[in-house]
């Protein structure tokens, strides 16, 4: 009876037995995760180890799977935004904007230029915050805590800008279908200017600290390389693909929100190893800063921050309390009364770590018939066993860090 209660034998157990019989050497199984501090998220890897070297790996995911796609099928469009916030929570505004743009594409809504530029600014800020987290934690995983301290305060400053825009810091939910919930305050612009003034020096210092550091180079060069062909076959996009030398970027390939108005280059690496992924993200931060500066310089005059689409744009709360028309629109939108066409669309944005896509099918009811999130982390993580085969255990940690896999987006 007690045998029945034992868990089934893992396939590695058989390999270990066979290997023991062959030459007497000992292999072992190691559980990396699910709640290992170095995995920065709840996912498990069962590793087959020969001493310190990894022979094979089997990832197990789904520990925080929250059924977002199922929930989305039961919610009107506005109520889906908080779900997108909680996917890649390091750069939630990009997820938000991606979702609104998907709905706007569905409803044929043209967003005013100024609102588009504001969206670009906030998306690039989110990308910077995402890269700050990824690269500084990669530093921590190689044993260098200092860089993390240098730049992490600037993530706080970005959050303060979000706070000025919408009142929230992590899960921002700052927009509306057609634009923003409210116009940006002068204080938000002041904080943005201050950030643009102070951050570059810190980022330069951060780069200097790592990019020519002997220990960091030894820990990352030729660690976890992936060729361009393999990366493409695995579905890589974003910095992880660009590190392998492919200059694919959704912002350039399919520009959205006026990205075509800005000049920026797509940084690419050569070898697709951990060091290249780190450097590509570093370089992308400079491009993001440049895009923000250009957007501020080219910002159209006026205070237009949303499209005039009362059927879809949730009116400001103070108007709801004082104007009957706003109250009616508010009620209709909140109750999911807005007319939605029957359609199938796909919209993608360049998320912090790759192409974030939304495949939406509607049947005319107030909720999506099907909403599928193309989550870049989910795509990357299946290549992880391939990338760590033959590496040392300590390499597996930095490879995982450099892939920037966020558990919230992986599981969704």
């Amino acid at each position: 009876m007690s045998e029945l209660l034992l868990p089934p034998e893992h396939r590695y157990a058989k390999i270990i037995k066979e290997k023991l019989n062959e030459d007497g050497s000992e292999l072992s199984i190691l559980n990396l995760g699910p709640t290992h501090p170095a995995t920065h998220g709840i996912f498990q890897n069962i590793l087959l180890m020969d001493g310190e070297r990894i022979l094979d790996a089997e990832p197990t995911i789904g520990y925080i799977h929250r059924a977002f796609e199922k929930i989305a099928e039961n919610r009107p469009f506005y109520q889906i935004t908080p779900l997108t916030d909680r996917m890649n929570y390091c750069s939630s505004p990009i997820n938000n904007m991606g979702w609104w743009m998907t709905v706007e594409k569905l409803l044929d809504i043209e967003v005013p230029k100024r609102a588009q530029y504001l969206r670009v600014i906030v998306m690039e800020l989110a990308r910077i915050a995402d890269h700050i987290i990824c690269n500084s934690i990669l530093g921590v995983d190689t044993g260098a805590y200092t860089g993390f301290l240098y730049v992490f305060q600037f993530r706080e400053k970005i959050y303060e800008i979000y706070e000025e825009i919408c009142g929230a810091r992590l899960t921002t939910n700052m927009g509306r279908i057609g634009g923003f919930e409210r116009d940006w305050s002068p204080e938000a612009f002041r904080k943005l200017d201050l950030f643009l003034e102070e951050f570059p020096a810190a980022w330069k210092e951060f780069e200097n600290l790592f990019e020519r550091n002997r220990i960091f180079i030894d820990r990352t060069v030729n660690v976890g390389p992936i060729s361009a062909e393999q990366a493409m076959s695995y579905g890589f996009t974003g910095p992880n693909l660009r590190a392998a030398g492919v200059d694919y970027d959704v912002r350039v390939a399919h520009p959205y929100s006026s990205y075509e108005d800005f000049d920026f280059i797509i940084p690419v690496g050569k070898s697709g190893d951990t060091y290249d992924r780190f450097c590509v993200r570093n370089a992308e931060v400079w491009e993001s800063l440049s895009i923000i500066r250009q957007a501020l310089a080219k910002m159209p005059e006026g205070n237009e921050y949303h499209a005039e689409v009362p059927d879809y744009y949730l009116p400001p709360k103070e108007d709801v309390y004082t104007s009957m028309e706003s109250l009616i629109y508010h009620f209709k939108i909140v109750m999911g009364e807005v007319p939605v066409p029957v359609a199938e669309i796909y919209h993608a944005v360049e998320g912090g770590n790759g192409e974030l896509g939304f495949y939406l099918e509607t049947d005319g009811s107030r909720t999506p018939y099907r909403l599928h999130f193309r989550r870049p982390c989910f795509i990357y993580y299946q290549a992880y066993p391939e990338m760590i085969k033959g590496a040392l255990l300590s390499d597996a940690i930095v490879i995982l860090s450099s892939l920037n896999v966020i558990a919230g987006e992986l599981d969704a």
């Binding site: 594409k105 579905g235 399919h254 029957v342 669309i345 796909y346 005319g364």
Partner: protein
């Protein structure tokens, strides 16, 4: 010369005849349906043909249509992308509701492996030839496939969120 919709349509109809049909432009994406039995051959052709070169699988997911006739109760949607010409296409194929199965494309695109596992996990679609078709996000012991429409999020007896009470049906919009 840019890759036009008509080029894709001509190539496909030339090689696969009536197994590829219902070509249309949906917003910014050229889309068509294919015969489920031919999914592997058509996708391989789209990838390998030198003038088409749809070498990137952007997305793969399933959809459940319980109200359709039994042969069209599930759909698998493929999004492919040709980066050279910067052209996206969407392929939809319907499969049987009682025995949902379709050939795997995980040997054409490595990325399809987990996407197919996810679709199996949510809809119970059997991807024939898949190397490791087991649950990926839900627990192994589950016997139902939660994204199917017969599994509602909330108590089915609940009427306060019923579309009919908001004056909306599919026909009136």
């Amino acid at each position: 010369m840019a890759l036009e919709n008509t080029d894709i349509q001509d190539k496909l109809t030339q090689n696969f005849g009536e197994e590829v049909f219902n070509f249309q432009q949906q917003k910014d994406i050229f889309t068509f349906e294919i015969d489920a039995d031919k999914n592997k051959a058509i996708i391989l052709f789209l990838k390998n043909d030198p003038s088409l070169q749809f070498h990137f699988l952007t997305d793969l997911c399933g959809i459940h249509y319980p109200d359709n006739e039994v042969n069209k109760q599930f759909a698998i949607v493929y999004h492919l992308h040709n980066w050279y010409e910067n052209k996206r296409i969407k392929i939809k194929t319907y499969i049987n509701g009682e025995k949902p199965e379709i050939k795997t494309i995980s040997n054409i695109f490595l990325s399809a492996n987990w996407m197919e596992r996810e679709t199996f996990d949510f809809y119970g679609v059997d991807f024939i030839g898949h190397p490791q078709l087991k649950r990926i996000l839900n627990m192994d012991e589950m016997i139902s496939f939660p994204m199917r429409k017969e599994f509602p999020m909330e108590d089915g007896g609940r009427t306060d969120k019923d579309d009919r009470f908001f004056g909306r049906t599919i026909d009136n919009c």
